[in-house]
C-alpha cells in the first residue's frame, strides 16, 4: 500500500526505486528531493536561474532513449525509468565531461578560487587534475586572460568553463545586459559588451556574475591575491542580515574574516531573491575607513564653528579633542538640558536617522518627546517622501505602499514616474526589467532618460516641473473617454464628481505645451493604463521634491482610484522609499506632527495612550520640520540640537544657509560614524555604530520588517546608537533600562498596531515579516485595501489639483533647470560610500550631467570643468556628456562635499509635506576653465 499522491504528483523510477515527482520538476530536482545531489556546474540552484543544460555534468540515463539526458533541464514524466548513480554510462559521462574541463584549468593551487564549486565537483567525482592534464592535450592559452580593470571584480578567463551562468546572471537575473558569450566552438568566450575590459564596459558592478560563477573566473577582487590566486572559503564566519543602503531591503550574508567583512553575498530575501547591487555587495568597507570615529570628541577650546577647508576628518584632533564617554555624554546632555531649562522645550530639536534601526528611531523620538519636551523631531523623510505621505494620508488614510514592488510581475502595465530605479533602487529595477521582458508595459515618465527606458513600452521625457500638467491631462482623458471604473469609484471613493468637473480644462491639447508631451502620446498612456486589467504606479523623488510635490502625489492617487487599480494583485500605489529604514523610522514616529503609526500629536486620545505607555506628558503641538528648524535657528528659537546620523550640512537645500544655522547653535551634539560636514560644526561628537555592527530591525519600502544582525565588533570605543540614545536619555532623568533592541521592540509592539503579530522572535526566525500581519502564523499582507481604506468612512478621497509653476522658473539670467539627486555608486551625502574603495574608484569626483548638445553649445568638452550658479551659490565640477539628458537641464548629485549641489538648491517648501524643491532650480552653467578630459 502506498500513500495517496498529492495532486499533480506522479511516480517514476530512479535508480530502481519508485519516487514521487511533482509536475514541472526536473529530474535533478526530483533526485535532490530524494537525497541525491547530482553533480552540476552550469546549474545554479537559486531563484531566477534557469537551467541551461550545457555543462553535461549531470547526465542520467533514461530507459528508451539513445543518448543520455541532462537531469537539470529534463522534466520528469510519469513512469520514466531513470538511472543516475546506478548507470555506469551516466557516471562515466559525468566524470569524462568534467575531465575535459579539467584539462584546460589551472592547477587547483593556482586557481582564482580553490574552493569553487568546480573544485568541489572535481573532488566529489574523485578526479585528478594532474592526470587529466597529462592525458589530454592542453589548449594553447593565448594572451593573458586576466582582466583587473574593474575595482571590484577580478576576471580570469583561463578558469572559465563557458557555462554561461554569468550570462544568465547578468542578462536574465539582474537584466543588466552586459555579459555575452561570444564567438563559437572552442573559441567561445565570455565578453563584456564588445569584448571590452570589464572596467570599461557598461557593467554596473552588481556582482551577480561573481556570485554565480562556479569556477572563480569571476571573483570579488578582494578575495584574490596579486597573482590571481584566491579562496572564497577563507573566512571565519557568515552572518545573515539585511543591506544598509536603500529601501529595497536586500537580504545578504556578510563573510567575516579577522573581524572584517571581506565579502558580501546576496541571500534569498523576499525583495531581492539573492540579488544585490554594487553598493550592498562592494560598498561595506567604510566600516574600517581610517577616518572612522572611534572615540568621543569635544570641540577644542576657541575653535570657531565653521567648515574649515583644511579640516581632515581622518585627523580630527586639529579641531577637537578626545574625551571619555562619561565626559562626552555629560557634556552632550547637560548642554541640551541647560538650554531646555533656560529657554523651554522649543529651544531644542532632534534629527533622527532613517539609516538606524526601528528601535533606535523609536528611542530617539521618545527622547525628544519625553525628554526634550516637544515634537521637534524629524528626519530625512522630510527631504524625500513627506509630500507623498501627506497625499496618501489625506486620500487613502495610509502613508505606506499599497502593494510591494514584486507585484509588478503580475501587472500588465506599470507607470514609473519621477523615479530612476536602476540607479536608486537597483534590485527593484531588476523586477521591473524582468516584468517588462515578460510583457508588462512599462511607462516611464521623467524629465531625464534612464536605463529602464530600453525596456519601456514608452519612455517619455517631459518638461521638468510639469508633473501636474501631464498627470491632469491623463486624468482628463480617463474621465472624458469614460475609461474610469465606475463601480470601484462608487463603492470605494468620494469626490469623483468634483474631480471630473475640475479636470474639464486639463485636456491633452491644453496641457501639451506645458508638459512637452504630444496629445496623442498622452492619450495612449492614459488608455494603456486605464484599460489594463492590472496596473501599478511607482514614483520617487521626481514627484515628491517639488513645491507641488503633494499635488503631484494627489494626482497619482487619483489615477489609481479613478481606474480601480488598487487593492488587487498587480495593482497599487508604491512610492519607492529611499533609505533602508525610512519606512520604519517614519512608522516609529520620527515625524514632528505625528506620534508612532501616524497618529496626529493633536489627537488627545492617542496622545493619552502614549502618555500612559511612556509615563510622561506629551506636547499637543506639532513640532518643526527639517527646514523649519533651520529657519528657527536663524530666528533664535531653536538653540540646541541632537543630530543622529543625519548630515543636513550636505543634504539640506541652500546649504550655506543651513551651515550658518548649525554654526549658530549654542549646543550641537552629533552622533555619527565620521566627522561629517555637520559634525564639523558640533560641540560634542559621539562615535556611533555602523549597521553591520549592531542588532536591530529595519522596514523596507515593501512594509517588510527585516532583521539586521551584528557581524563585526564596534571599532575602538564606538557604541551602538541605541545605547548612546539611552545614555543621553538617562541624563535627562529618564529611567530607561533597555538591555537589547529586542526590549525596545517589545515596547514598540505595545504602542503600534501596525506591528501586531510581529514579534522580535518571529522576525528573527523568518528574517522578514510583512506588516500588516493578521495573525502570528499568517503571512503579512503584500497587497492591502482590498475591501476598505483605513479612513473614517472606509472610502478613499479624490483630491483634485491644478498645475502650478515651479517656485523659481528659469529666466534669461538663469536659463537652465538644475535637478539634484543620487548616483548608483554613492549614497545620500557620500559619508559612507565615498569612504569605500570600490565605490569611490567607480565615481571618484563630482560630476554634472548635461545633454551632449547642451555641452557643445557651452563650448565644453566632455570631462571639462563647469561652473554652475544659482541665486544662492555656485559650485565647480566636471561635466559629463549624457545622451539621456534633455537639453535645457543639468543634473548634479548631492554627495560631493567638494562641490555641494545643495549650495545651489531652492529651500522653498511644499506647503503640505514641507519638502524642498530639490528637483527644480533655475541655474546658469558656464565653462570654468581647465579640462579634466579623461
Amino acid at each position: 500500500m502506498s500513500a495517496p499522491l498529492p495532486p499533480e504528483a506522479f511516480e517514476l523510477s530512479l535508480d530502481g526505486r519508485s519516487v514521487v515527482a511533482r509536475a514541472g520538476e526536473t529530474l535533478w530536482q526530483v533526485a535532490r528531493r530524494h537525497g541525491e545531489t547530482i553533480p552540476h556546474l552550469c546549474l545554479r540552484d537559486a531563484p531566477g536561474y534557469r537551467a541551461d543544460g550545457n555543462c553535461r555534468a549531470c547526465m542520467v540515463e533514461i530507459e528508451g532513449e539513445k543518448a543520455l539526458a541532462a537531469s537539470c533541464i529534463r522534466e520528469a514524466r510519469p513512469g520514466m525509468v531513470v538511472r543516475s548513480t546506478s548507470s555506469e554510462r551516466a557516471c562515466r559521462a559525468r566524470a569524462d565531461v568534467v575531465t575535459l574541463l579539467l584539462a584546460d584549468q589551472p592547477p587547483r593551487t593556482a586557481a582564482p578560487d580553490r574552493s569553487s564549486s568546480f573544485w568541489h565537483t572535481v573532488e566529489a567525482l574523485g578526479l585528478d587534475g594532474d592526470a587529466a592534464r597529462r592525458g589530454l592535450p592542453r589548449r594553447e592559452q593565448g594572451a593573458v586572460r586576466r582582466d583587473d580593470s574593474h575595482p571590484a571584480m577580478h576576471v580570469d578567463l583561463g578558469a572559465c568553463i563557458q557555462c554561461g551562468l554569468c550570462v544568465r546572471a547578468c542578462r536574465e537575473v539582474q537584466v543588466n545586459d552586459v555579459i555575452g558569450l561570444a564567438h563559437r566552438g572552442a573559441r567561445s568566450q565570455v565578453v563584456f559588451d564588445f569584448d571590452d575590459p570589464m572596467g570599461e564596459s557598461t557593467c554596473v558592478g552588481c556582482g551577480e556574475c561573481v556570485q554565480a560563477c562556479p569556477t572563480g573566473a569571476l571573483m570579488p577582487a578582494g578575495l584574490v591575491d596579486a597573482t590571481g590566486r584566491g579562496d572564497s572559503a577563507a573566512t571565519d564566519r557568515q552572518v545573515h542580515s539585511v543591506c544598509p543602503y536603500c529601501g529595497v531591503g536586500c537580504q545578504l550574508t556578510y563573510h567575516v574574516k579577522d573581524d572584517r567583512i571581506v565579502d558580501v553575498t546576496g541571500r534569498n530575501g523576499p525583495s531581492n531573491l539573492g540579488r544585490l547591487c554594487v553598493k550592498g555587495r562592494f560598498g561595506l568597507d567604510y566600516l574600517g575607513h581610517p577616518a572612522r570615529l572611534t572615540r568621543p570628541l569635544v570641540r577644542g577650546p576657541g575653535v570657531p564653528k565653521a567648515l574649515d577647508p583644511d579640516f581632515d576628518p581622518a585627523r580630527p584632533l586639529t579641531h577637537f579633542r578626545e574625551a571619555s564617554w562619561e565626559e562626552a555624554l555629560d557634556r552632550a546632555a547637560s548642554g541640551l538640558r541647560t538650554l531646555r531649562d533656560e529657554h523651554g522645550p522649543a529651544a531644542l530639536a532632534g534629527f533622527g536617522s532613517a539609516k538606524c534601526s526601528n528601535e533606535e528611531a523609536w528611542l530617539f523620538q521618545k527622547l525628544v518627546r519625553t525628554g526634550f519636551g516637544s515634537n521637534n523631531v524629524d528626519h530625512c523623510t522630510r527631504l524625500c517622501h513627506a509630500s507623498s505621505v501627506a497625499a496618501l494620508m489625506e486620500c487613502i488614510g495610509s502613508g505606506a505602499v499599497t502593494a510591494s514592488f514584486m507585484q509588478v510581475l503580475q501587472a500588465d502595465v506599470a507607470i514609473l514616474v519621477g523615479c530612476n530605479p536602476a540607479v536608486n533602487h537597483p534590485v527593484a529595477a531588476t523586477f521591473f526589467k524582468q516584468a517588462a521582458k515578460r510583457g508588462t508595459k512599462l511607462i516611464v515618465l521623467d524629465p531625464r532618460g534612464q536605463a529602464l527606458g530600453d525596456y519601456a513600452y514608452r519612455m517619455v521625457r517631459f518638461t521638468p516641473g510639469a508633473d501636474v500638467a501631464l498627470l491632469d491631462a491623463l486624468l482628463n482623458v480617463i474621465v472624458t473617454e469614460g475609461l474610469h471604473d465606475a463601480e470601484f469609484i462608487a463603492r470605494h471613493t468620494e469626490g469623483f464628481e468634483a474631480l471630473a468637473r475640475h479636470l474639464r480644462t486639463t485636456t491633452p491639447e491644453a496641457m501639451a505645451p506645458l508638459c512637452g508631451v504630444p496629445p496623442e502620446e498622452i492619450r495612449d498612456i492614459a488608455r494603456t493604463y486605464a484599460t489594463a486589467e492590472r496596473a501599478m504606479i511607482f514614483w520617487g523623488m521626481g514627484i515628491s521634491q517639488h513645491v507641488h510635490g503633494t499635488d503631484n502625489a494627489r494626482c497619482l492617487v487619483s489615477l489609481a482610484l479613478a481606474t480601480g487599480h488598487v487593492g488587487r494583485p498587480g495593482t497599487g500605489l508604491h512610492p519607492l522609499r529611499g533609505q533602508n529604514n525610512v519606512q520604519g523610522a517614519s512608522d516609529a514616529g520620527l515625524i514632528p506632527m505625528v506620534l508612532p503609526d501616524y497618529h496626529p500629536v493633536g489627537n488627545a486620545l492617542y496622545r493619552a495612550a502614549f502618555e500612559e505607555l511612556w509615563g510622561a506628558r506629551l506636547d499637543p503641538e506639532p513640532g518643526l520640520t527639517v527646514v523649519e528648524v533651520m529657519h528657527a535657528i536663524h530666528a533664535g528659537t531653536v538653540r540646541g540640537m541632537y543630530i543622529l546620523g543625519e548630515n543636513p550640512a550636505m543634504s539640506d537645500p541652500d546649504v550655506d544657509r543651513t551651515r550658518a544655522a548649525l554654526a549658530r547653535l549654542e549646543h550641537l551634539v552629533v552622533q555619527d560614524l565620521f566627522v561629517t560636514e555637520t559634525a564639523q560644526l558640533a560641540d560634542v561628537i559621539l562615535p556611533a555604530s555602523a549597521w553591520p555592527e549592531k542588532d536591530g530591525t529595519a522596514t523596507n519600502t515593501n512594509r517588510q520588517v527585516q532583521m539586521g544582525r551584528a557581524a563585526v565588533p564596534l571599532p575602538g570605543d564606538a557604541r551602538p546608537d541605541w545605547w548612546i540614545i539611552q545614555e543621553i536619555a538617562r541624563r535627562f532623568g529618564l529611567a530607561w533600562n533597555y538591555a537589547h533592541p529586542r526590549d525596545v521592540f517589545a515596547e514598540m509592539q505595545q504602542g503600534m498596531d501596525s506591528l501586531a503579530n510581529l514579534s522580535w522572535q518571529r522576525i528573527d526566525r523568518d528574517d522578514s515579516v510583512t506588516y500588516p500581519s493578521l495573525a502570528a502564523d499568517a503571512p503579512g499582507e503584500d497587497v492591502v485595501f482590498a475591501d476598505r481604506f483605513p479612513t473614517a468612512s472606509g472610502k478613499a478621497r479624490f483630491s483634485p489639483v491644478l498645475p502650478l509653476p515651479p517656485d523659481e522658473p528659469v529666466d534669461d539670467a538663469y536659463p537652465l533647470v538644475l535637478i539634484t539627486g543620487r548616483q548608483l555608486e554613492h549614497w545620500h551625502t557620500g559619508a559612507m560610500t565615498r569612504r569605500t574603495r570600490v565605490l569611490d574608484a567607480l565615481e571618484p569626483e563630482a560630476v554634472a550631467s548635461l545633454a551632449p548638445g547642451e555641452l557643445a553649445r557651452l563650448g565644453i568638452a566632455p570631462g571639462g570643468r563647469v561652473r554652475i550658479a544659482t541665486r544662492r551659490g555656485r559650485v565647480e565640477l566636471a561635466a559629463r556628456a549624457d545622451p539621456l539628458m534633455r537639453e535645457g537641464m543639468v543634473f548634479v548629485p548631492f554627495c560631493y562635499a567638494e562641490a555641494p549641489a545643495n549650495r545651489l538648491t531652492n529651500p522653498s517648501l511644499d506647503p503640505f509635506g514641507k519638502i524642498p524643491e530639490f528637483k527644480y532650480a533655475a541655474c546658469r552653467v558656464e565653462p570654468a576653465g581647465g579640462s579634466d578630459l579623461v
Binding site: A70, R74, R89, G185, G863
Partner: protein, 563 residues
C-alpha cells in the same frame, strides 16, 4: 582616477547612428531581424565596424552583448573594432570540404595566397560550399569558381565581377503551365483534404530528407494538433559536407519547393513561412526572392506570408532548433529537446520544419501518387533518394536513385564508375557525420536505418567516395577539424571534445582506447547531433581501417572497447 566625461561603456557615435538609421530605414527593429540587419551593414560597409554595431544596438534596443554574440558567431560577419583595420575589399574563400581537399584545395589555397596582394585580397578557407561535383571550389566575393585553378580564380579577380553567377530557373508561368500549384489550389478549394494528402505522403513513405528521416505525415499531424499560431520553416541551410541536393532542387525547381512549403503551411494552418537559406548560396537568394514575389503577384500568398532569411555561415544552423534560434536573431545554438520544435519552435510557437527536398517531393507525390514513390526502392526499401555524389567517381553530381541502392550500384549505374585510375577505398555515406565504410561494405543497401549496425548512417545522402590514392588520416583530420570549427560551443563534450580529438589525431601514436572513450562521452552527452556524430569518422576508421592507417604511418595502440 578622475571623473568620466561620458557615461559608462562605449560611447554612441551619432554619425554611425545616422548611417544605421538611413540604411535600415523602413525595416523592423524587432530582435529577430538582427542577422538581416547585420547582413545589410556587412554588405554596405564590407565589414561590421564596432561603432556601427554600437549604434545598431541602440537602434534595435538590444544589449551590446547580444549584438556582439550574433556578430561573432557567424563566419560571414567581420567584426572590426575601432583600433583594428578592416579586411581587404575582396575575400577569396577556398572550400575546405573533404571533396575539395581530395581535388587539391590545400595546394590551391596556398598558391592563391602567394599570388595576391594581401592588402587587396584575403584568402581564407571556408566549409563546404555545396558544389562538390565541381571541386575544388573557390568563392570570390559572392561568385563561385568551380574546378578552380589559380589562373581561373585570377581571371575572376581581374574581371571584378563578384556578384553571384546567374541561375536560369523555371519561372512561375512555366511551372504553372506544367500543372504547378494545383495541389495547393486543390487543398484550398477543399478538393483534397489535408488528411487525404497526409495519407498519400504516408503511403509514399516520405521522410524528412534533411537527414533525420522523420515521417513527414507524422510531423504534419503533430504540428496541426498544437495551438495556433503555428509556423512553417523551410530548412535551406544545406551544410553537410558533400551534400548539394537542395541547391540542385532550388535551382531547378524553386516553385515546386515553394509549393511544397505552401502546401505544408496549409496542412498545419501556419501563420507564416520562413525560408532559411544558407549564405553560401547567394545566387539562390535572388531566385527565391523573385519566386516569392511571383507567388505574391499571382495572389497565391499574401505579401508578408513567406519570409526569406539569410544564414551567415554556420553549419550548425542546419540543425532545426539552431536554425530557429538563428531566425530569432541569435547565435545558432541548438535547443534542448523536449520540448520539440513541433511544440515550441519559432518565437516559442509550434513549428513545422521541413527540408527543401522534402517540400519538393510533396507536389510530385500528389501528382504521381504515393504508390508511385513508394515503388521506387530496391531491396524492400521505399522511395527515391537524391544522392549527392562527389569524390573519386567519373560523374559526380546529384543522382536521384532508388532507396536501398548500394554504393557499388550507385557508382556503376549513375556515376559512370570510379574516376579513371582510382580504386575504391571506402566511402562516406552521409556527409561528414555519417561515418566511413570500407570498400568491403560497398554492397549494403543505402537508406535510413540500414547502415546503423555498421556504425554509420545515411543522413542527407551526401556520398563522398575515397580511393586508395587518398590519405585517410588527412581525411579524418579534415572532418574533425570541420566539426571543431563548426561546433557552436554550447556543450562541453562537443566544444572541448572536438578540439581535443583533433589534437589527439595530430599525435604520432593514436591511443584507440582514449579516442573511443572520448568518442563515447561526445556521443552520449552532446546536446545535438553535431557533437554526437563528430567522432563517427574516427570510430569507423578504428573499426575498418586500422591496416590502412598503419600503412600511412599511424601507430594505433590499444583496443577501442566502445566499438
Amino acid at each position: 582616477m578622475r571623473a568620466r566625461g561620458l557615461p559608462r561603456g562605449r560611447a554612441l557615435d551619432p554619425g554611425a547612428l545616422r548611417e544605421v538609421e538611413d540604411l535600415l530605414a523602413g525595416t523592423s527593429r524587432d530582435g529577430d531581424q538582427l542577422l538581416e540587419h547585420l547582413h545589410l551593414l556587412q554588405d554596405r560597409l564590407g565589414h561590421l565596424p564596432a561603432r556601427h554595431l554600437r549604434a545598431l544596438a541602440t537602434w534595435m534596443r538590444l544589449p551590446m552583448a547580444a549584438v556582439f554574440e550574433t556578430a561573432t558567431f557567424y563566419a560571414h560577419f567581420d567584426f572590426v573594432d575601432d583600433d583594428e583595420s578592416p579586411p581587404p575589399a575582396l575575400t577569396l574563400r577556398v572550400c575546405s570540404s573533404l571533396s575539395c581537399q581530395l581535388a587539391g584545395a590545400d595546394a590551391l589555397g596556398r598558391e592563391l595566397a602567394r599570388g595576391v596582394d594581401p592588402a587587396r585580397v584575403r584568402v581564407m578557407t571556408a566549409p563546404c560550399m555545396g558544389r562538390c561535383q565541381e571541386a575544388p571550389v573557390v568563392q570570390a566575393g559572392r561568385r563561385h569558381v568551380g574546378r578552380a585553378t589559380p589562373a581561373r580564380v585570377q581571371d575572376v579577380v581581374e574581371s571584378g565581377r563578384f556578384d553571384p553567377e546567374p541561375i536560369d530557373w523555371p519561372r512561375f508561368a512555366a511551372y504553372r503551365s506544367a500543372g504547378g500549384y494545383r495541389v495547393l489550389e486543390d487543398l484550398r478549394a477543399g478538393r483534397v483534404t489535408v488528411e487525404a494528402l497526409a495519407a498519400e505522403l504516408e503511403a509514399a513513405g516520405l521522410r524528412g530528407l534533411g537527414g533525420a528521416g522523420f515521417p513527414t505525415h507524422r510531423k504534419w499531424r503533430l504540428v496541426r494538433a498544437e495551438p495556433a499560431p503555428r509556423y512553417v520553416v523551410i530548412n535551406a541551410d544545406e551544410g553537410e559536407p558533400g551534400t548539394f541536393k537542395d541547391r540542385h532542387y532550388l535551382e531547378r525547381a524553386p516553385h515546386q519547393c515553394l509549393e511544397g512549403a505552401l502546401v505544408s503551411a496549409e496542412a498545419v494552418g501556419a501563420a507564416a513561412i520562413y525560408v532559411y537559406l544558407r549564405d553560401e548560396y547567394p545566387g539562390l537568394h535572388r531566385v527565391l526572392r523573385e519566386a516569392i514575389a511571383e507567388i505574391e503577384t499571382a495572389g497565391l500568398a499574401p505579401s508578408g506570408f513567406i519570409f526569406l532569411r539569410r544564414g551567415a555561415g554556420a553549419y550548425i544552423c542546419g540543425e532545426e532548433s539552431a536554425l530557429i534560434e538563428s531566425l530569432e536573431g541569435k547565435p545558432g545554438k541548438p535547443r534542448h529537446r523536449p520540448p520539440y520544435v513541433a511544440e515550441r519552435g519559432l518565437f516559442g510557437r509550434p513549428t513545422l520544419v521541413n527540408n527543401v527536398e522534402t517540400a519538393y517531393w510533396i507536389p510530385e507525390i500528389h501528382r504521381r501518387g504515393g504508390e508511385w514513390f513508394a515503388r521506387q526502392g530496391r531491396r524492400g526499401r521505399k522511395g527515391l533518394r537524391s544522392f549527392s555524389v562527389s569524390g573519386r567517381v567519373s560523374h559526380p553530381g546529384v543522382h536521384v536513385a532508388p532507396a536501398g541502392i548500394t554504393l557499388r550500384e550507385l557508382v556503376d549505374e549513375y556515376c559512370g564508375g570510379m574516376a579513371d585510375g582510382h580504386e575504391l577505398l571506402g566511402y562516406l555515406p552521409g556527409g561528414a557525420s555519417g561515418g566511413i565504410l570500407p570498400a568491403s561494405l560497398a554492397d549494403l543497401p543505402l537508406d535510413f536505418g540500414t547502415l546503423e549496425p555498421h556504425g554509420c548512417f545515411i543522413g542527407s545522402a551526401g556520398i563522398i567516395v575515397l580511393s586508395t590514392a587518398d590519405e585517410l588520416r588527412a581525411a579524418l583530420v579534415n572532418l574533425v577539424a570541420f566539426f571543431s570549427d563548426e561546433s557552436c560551443g554550447q556543450c562541453t563534450p562537443c566544444r572541448i571534445g572536438t578540439e581535443k580529438m583533433l589534437a589527439l589525431l595530430a599525435r604520432e601514436t593514436w591511443d584507440a582506447e582514449q579516442l573511443a572513450r572520448l568518442a563515447q562521452v561526445m556521443a552520449d552527452a552532446s546536446i545535438c547531433g553535431l557533437g554526437q556524430a563528430a567522432p563517427n569518422p574516427v570510430l569507423a576508421s578504428l573499426r575498418y581501417f586500422r591496416g590502412r592507417l598503419a600503412a600511412e604511418g599511424v601507430r594505433v595502440v590499444g583496443q577501442d572497447s566502445a566499438t
